[in-house]
Amino acid sequence: MIDRIAKLRAQAEGEIAAAASSEQLEQLRVRHLGRKAELPQLLREVANLPAEQRGEVGKAANMARQALEAEIHARAEMLAGEELERTLHEDRVDVTLPGAPPQPLGSLHLLSSTRRELEDIFLGLGFTVMEGPEVERVHYNFDALNHSPTHPARARTDTFYVSPETVLRTHTSPMQVRAMEAHPPPLYVVIPGRVYRPDSDATHTPQFHQLEGLAVDEDITLADLKGTLLEFARAVFGDERDVRLRPHFFPFTEPSVEVDVSCFNCAGTGFLKDGARCNVCKGEGWLEILGAGEVDPNVYSHVPSNPQNAPGYDPEKVQGFAFGMGVERIAMLKHGIPDLRIYYENDLRFLEQFA
């Protein structure tokens, strides 16, 4: 019996020492120390032995079992350590290896980034940003903006009509009256948005973008308009810029002006350093950037008083300026884009230049 135990123990010890993995070791534990294994069987049968053999055989079997358990434990720890080491080694990341091929990354369209830039400038000057409907009533698009009933801009060749009383707005200006209907004076807002006109060539697209500005208070003058637009022009085109106001005509401002900014390409001289004529301003020294003026008193007369805008807009008590600019035009001037249609063709070679 004792010999048998010693043999089992020696065999098991040999196999444990040779075990190569935790899984193999577990199989060995089951085989040698599991319920059906021979050594535990021997231990259970010790009770059936003659009394004089019980102590010796039981002691030997117990010692063998304890020794095997200890060895399995020791071997298991060793194997676990080895395996951890191996895993750590195999899973190591080499940060110096080259990455995967680059994936295309989206970015803002030039018109979006320009619009945001313009909004930021006017936010910084104390204006708030509003938006309005692109499908607009004739009332807001023309009537309330002092366009005579026979004004040529109302013609079907110049405006998209949805119905006789509804148009796709031809400018962002209808929001002047909507803004004044919704808010009392003083009012300082800019309104970016899409506008529509039936034109299509290198400098016109049926849909384009404008940014409207409106400042109404008790004493906003043409001089305030000039100061505001000078600040704007410098923010967009550089600190050295100057602006000039040229008399013009719009139905909803009086006096009306067109606003030029001194050319950033030739510093307003019209000529480059090498004496050639400036190709940005065509030698003029000035670039037309927007239309503006003092809001015509007739426009205030079209703003009904209501609880939201009390005390309302009395033409004798309020005055202010309005301006409207083309977002495409500002971006064209700033980035030297020759053709308006490029904005909408979504050619990646164009878009990526401004990503």
Binding site: S148, T150, P152, A155, T157, D219, T221, L222, A223, D224, R244, R246, P247, H248, F249, E254, P255, E258, E294, D296, P297, N298, P315, Q319
Partner: protein, 469 residues
């Protein structure tokens, strides 16, 4: 609008270079879009010459070898291909070294073996209209009876003209004529303004029995005026007129048509010349067209009209689409001897609608749709009358057919000092305000809080533009 600078300077001549004039006009609201150069790039080398002899070329049937006196010791030998060249003519000559409008630089060279020292010029080669009929013969075409050979051509004929192209805003139809721009330049520079060329009228008011006019739709035709000219001689216009029209972008046709265009460019008001002998019944009726009515216009096209459009008809039916285009049946021809000069005012929005609906735009419709004032009719009549007499040898019949309501009394706008300051943010002295207004033909009278400003007829639109200022 294209304004030849020498023509503008005839009425207002500030001592300023063209670039400064451009700046002043632009900064007072009449934006100069471009400055074009019309004619030869430089005037050097262009002189008056006299043809002493014109002999056949020994080796070419169509060429002539001319001896031309150019004021030098020896006359020059010039080979010329024009069929009309002849001894005794006074002509325009380009010497070697001169540069033509198309960029060609002349040199002394041989033509079929014969040396040619320059070129005898046609009107076309100098960008003066016409000229399909050979070289330009200066005799009788210029005021000076005798021109000395060798005289610089630029001294006697506008061969190098600066033309300013202006953007006229919709509130300024008064600037659609050269004189209106001159008034603007006067206000912008304080240079003197010559009295309007229509102040002297060689025609007269009163009844005119030679023709009659009926206006059935006065709401679309606020004023209709007509004068009759007899003994008209149709011919080519003199060079100064052709040069001026060409520079302004109009093609010279004949003296009567050129006079209508000249008077229009000067006053802003379109005119139309009828051959009165071809107006059936010598009677014109202005009426709304009927739906589906068809009219053949001057360009040979047949147009289908509707009830919102206006036609002018004679006893045989419609001859013109009012304010847009005349008809072929009664147009002026080489045989015309009697001219009825029509100058009328039409409703701007109605003309805009008609020309857009027909897809037919003309120099006249483009002006009428901007809203001309009834007073301008007689301005154009006065300019045309003088030229018809001077250039066509015509006799103007006494009287003027003049149909239309009395124009409204001039509006008076209160211009308050406080409001001017409040809107502009700067002070403008009341005296300075009055001075600027005066230069623009607005009369003003001082009142307690500012000026009472009277709106002149040609600025009637300003009343709507500036309410309650």
């Amino acid at each position: 609008m294209r304004v030849p600078l020498p023509w503008l300077r005839e009425y207002c001549d500030p001592p300023l270079a063209v670039a400064e004039i451009e700046e002043r006009l632009t900064m007072t609201g009449t934006k100069v879009e471009a400055i074009h150069h019309h004619g030869v790039p430089a005037t050097e080398g262009f002189v008056v010459g006299r043809v002493l002899g014109a002999e056949p070329h020994p080796d070419a049937d169509r060429l002539r070898v001319c001896t031309v006196e150019l004021g030098d010791e020896q006359p020059a030998q010039i080979v010329c291909g024009a069929p009309n060249v002849a001894a005794g003519q006074t002509v325009a000559v380009a010497r070697p070294g001169a540069v033509l409008p198309d960029g060609t630089k002349l040199s002394r060279r041989k033509l079929r073996g014969v040396v040619s020292e320059g070129m005898i010029l046609s009107a076309g080669e100098l960008e003066i209209g016409g000229g399909a009929d050979g070289i330009m013969v200066l005799d009788g075409m210029l005021l000076d009876a005798e021109l000395a050979p060798g005289t610089p051509l630029a001294d006697v004929l506008a061969i190098a003209i600066d033309v300013i192209e202006l953007e006229i805003t919709p509130n300024r139809p008064d600037c659609l004529g050269v004189y209106g721009v001159a008034r603007e330049l006067h206000a912008a520079t304080a240079a003197a303004l010559v009295p309007a060329p229509w102040e002297q009228d060689l025609g007269s008011a009163g009844d005119l029995s030679r023709a009659s006019v009926v206006v059935e739709c006065p709401e679309l035709c606020p004023r209709f005026t007509a004068r009759v000219f007899e003994d008209v001689t149709i011919a080519q216009s003199p060079l100064w007129l052709r040069a001026r029209l060409s520079a302004a972008g109009q093609r010279p046709i004949n003296n009567v048509v050129d006079i209508t265009n000249y008077a229009m460019l000067l006053s802003g008001q379109p005119l139309h010349a009828f051959d009165l002998d071809r107006v059936a019944g010598a009677r014109l009726t202005v009426r709304r067209a009927t739906d589906g009515e068809r009219v053949e216009t001057l360009d040979g096209q047949t147009r289908t009209l509707d009830g919102e459009m206006v036609v002018i008809e004679d006893a045989d039916g419609p001859t013109s689409i009012a304010g847009v285009m005349g008809g072929a049946r009664s147009e002026v021809t080489d045989a015309t001897a009697t001219v009825l000069m029509e100058v009328a005012s039409w409703s701007g929005p109605n003309i805009h609608r008609t020309s857009s609906a027909l897809g037919l735009r003309s120099e006249a419709s483009g002006r009428f749709e901007k809203g001309l004032q009834p007073e301008q009719c007689l301005h154009a009549q006065a300019v045309a009358t003088r030229l018809m007499i001077e250039l066509c040898g015509a006799r103007v019949l006494a009287g003027t057919i003049d149909i239309g309501a009395q124009p409204p009394a001039p509006a008076v706008i209160g211009l308050r000092d406080a409001r001017v300051r409040a809107i502009l943010g700067v002070d403008v002295e009341r005296a300075r305000q009055a001075e600027i207004l005066q230069a623009l033909d607005f009369a003003s009278a001082a009142v307690a809080d500012g000026l009472d400003v009277t709106v002149p007829a040609l600025r009637r639109g300003a009343r709507e533009a500036s309410p309650g200022v």
